[in-house]
């Protein structure tokens, strides 16, 4: 292949494609359009996506985006687009620094916005850095001290982003007493809770529980205690009456977690797994065992 000819062809292609793409939009143009009569939210979203966030226009772009996100007269879809683009700007840490305090204040205000999607987006953003104001709002909502700003399962998920574990007592209660997605999320939120190891063991082994719930319990147990998980995983894999999805997940966890493999994998176990591959009808289990065999041989 003629590499230089390829390069020239590529340069030509870039020119053609750039010419066909919508031109970058200036922040002034966005602000002007937002202030105009007959503005359209979809058009605002398109303009926001075409902001270059480059060196020359970064500050004015961020200013325009903050104003749009705070403007309750603008539709939620456009305010959400502005929030997303502000998130993009955050990736230029040094340039974004001077706006950071105002941005956090805005997000805290939007956390109680009338629109649930705007509220959720603001809380999503704030909890990524464990913002204490957002965590308190969520905790109050879950304990019915304050308004529930988002559905309970979402609140648990966001509250669990606090690495300090201050909400662990709430999660422990919900993991045993709640139902459906709230219970699942509470169980996930206990991922690093050593005190919950007996609960994880019980749930992972209980065939009366939903497979999804048992899987979460098993992964949590692997996380906090590989030796305890090893015992559970061994039983899951070798029990012919067990759910195939769980068995596949257990084989996969054994394969990819050395601390578990060293407790479980013996010649006898590998031979049993090989037999299982020959007899199971589950494609997932077969492929998990295939990966296991590549690492540990076939007994």
């Amino acid at each position: 292949m003629d590499i230089e000819a390829l390069r020239q062809q590529y340069l030509q292609q870039l020119q053609t494609e750039e010419a066909a793409a919508p031109p970058p939009v200036t922040p002034e143009a966005v602000a002007q359009y937002v202030a105009s009569d007959g503005r359209d939210d979809v058009k605002i979203c398109q303009m926001i996506a075409s902001l270059p966030l480059d060196r020359e226009t970064f500050e004015t772009s961020v200013r325009a985006l903050l104003d749009i996100a705070a403007d309750k007269s603008v539709g939620a879809v456009a305010r959400l687009a502005a929030l997303r683009q502000l998130g993009s700007a955050e990736f230029r840490a040094a340039r974004f620094g001077p706006f950071h305090a105002e941005y956090i204040d805005l997000l805290r205000t939007l956390a109680t916005d009338e629109d649930v999607e705007v509220r959720t987006a603001a809380l999503e953003r704030l909890t990524l850095t464990a913002d204490p104001h957002a965590l308190k709002l969520l905790s109050d909502g879950l304990q019915k001290v304050g308004d529930a700003l988002v559905p309970a399962a979402k609140a648990v998920q966001l509250l669990a982003r606090d690495d300090h574990g201050s909400a662990l007592p709430i999660f422990r209660t919900l993991a045993t007493e709640a139902k459906g997605q709230v219970r699942e999320e509470a169980l996930r939120a206990l991922a690093t809770d050593v005190k919950s190891a007996p609960l994880f063991e019980r749930l992972a082994a209980n065939k009366d529980e939903k497979t999804a719930l048992r899987h979460i319990a098993a992964v949590n147990l692997k996380n906090i205690s590989p030796p305890r998980f090893a015992k559970v995983a061994r039983k899951l894999v070798l029990d012919e009456n067990e759910d195939d999805k769980l068995r596949a997940a257990a084989v996969s966890a054994i394969t990819h977690t050395p601390a578990v493999a060293e407790k479980v994998v013996t010649r006898r176990f590998a031979t049993a797994v090989k037999k299982l591959r020959a007899t199971t009808r589950s494609g997932a289990l077969k492929s998990s065992i295939g990966r296991f065999s590549k690492v540990f041989g076939e007994g």
Partner: protein, 414 residues
Amino acid sequence: MVNVSVKFPSYDSQGRAFVTWRPVEVKLTLAGAPAGASNVPVTVSAKSSAGGGALAFATTLTHLGTPSINLNLPANGAPVSVWVGGLYPKASASYGDVVLEVRAAAGNQLLGSQALMVRVRKNADDLTAAERDRFLSALATLNGSGTGRYTSFRDMHVGGPPDLEAHGGPGFLPWHRAYLLDFERELQAIDASVSLPYWRFDKAAPNLFSRAFIGLPDSLNRVQFSAGHPLLGWVAFGAAGIQRGRGVGPTTVPALFSEAQTLNTGGSLHASYSTFRNMQGNPHGSAHMSHGSGWITSPPTAPRDPVFFLLHCNVDRLWAKWQWAAKLHDPADPRSFTPAAGFPPGHRLNDALWPWCGPLAAPRPTTAPGGTLAASPMTAAPGLSPKCRDMIDYLGTVAAAHQAFAYDDVPFQK
């Protein structure tokens, strides 16, 4: 009996050789020739499996190699050099799918051979099922139980002073190139046939955004995988599973700058790095935010989601592609990076990159998670403690050393 030994400059611990588009110098040595025999004419070529890699040969370091070459090997056993690289754009799909063969020009007898792999970073959406599965298995193993080396990649990409090292100036691209290389080398220590794939975020990626590959989020932004998927046990920061917004699905074309809009400005290629690096906001930041919410949307949490590494691989590919298109690989050329003055430490051409250089004095980070850069059996470059400048000429276009990685759509051009 006459035979030819084929010696690559480097092998891994299992005696395997890997190349990219960038040729390496291979020594051919004739043995077993009768005393007083004259030189032996040979043909060096490659035998490829269907869909496998292909090789190019030359007597100098060049992009103008050909699929075969004729050489005369001295009967006295003096080695002869031949430069061997992948024949662009034919990369391997597995180890050994291409074999270098040395045959006698007269009679075509096979005198020597070496199986190898043309190992390059590929579009994740185009991987074969076997390539995908090897990558996912290595990734799952590196993630392990959420402890060990994976955590250092998480701890390098966090808020505060480390954030300023990674995102606080023009060192953004060199820093992430070193970070990805470190990560890829850890994957290759688990499975040497793996290379880091990239998410081409200005196109739809239905194979990547599937339950069989990088997963799809449910209504609660919990990423769901197919049964038995290696990443089902993914743990990061003590939390099981992955939280990712639903902004990108199998058919989504994210609203961000295309490749052409990233490399070009005002109808022509960015003339220097100082304007090209604007891509840090759009498309880079926009690609993070295209998911809407979840770990990937914030610098301190982004490495908790494995798609982060594929996203950044594409960011690095875009830089590599611009470097090729602009022919700017020489760190000494002021257009290939930025002037030395006017930027914070860590972002100037001769600055050492944290954390691979070790702990530094405040305001730079005072800890160094992960230690030095992972070594590669294929090359010593860019060293264990690279500087910004070391990450520019990754293919060894100007420098003598290459970094043993390349992209499927970015050729080597000397």
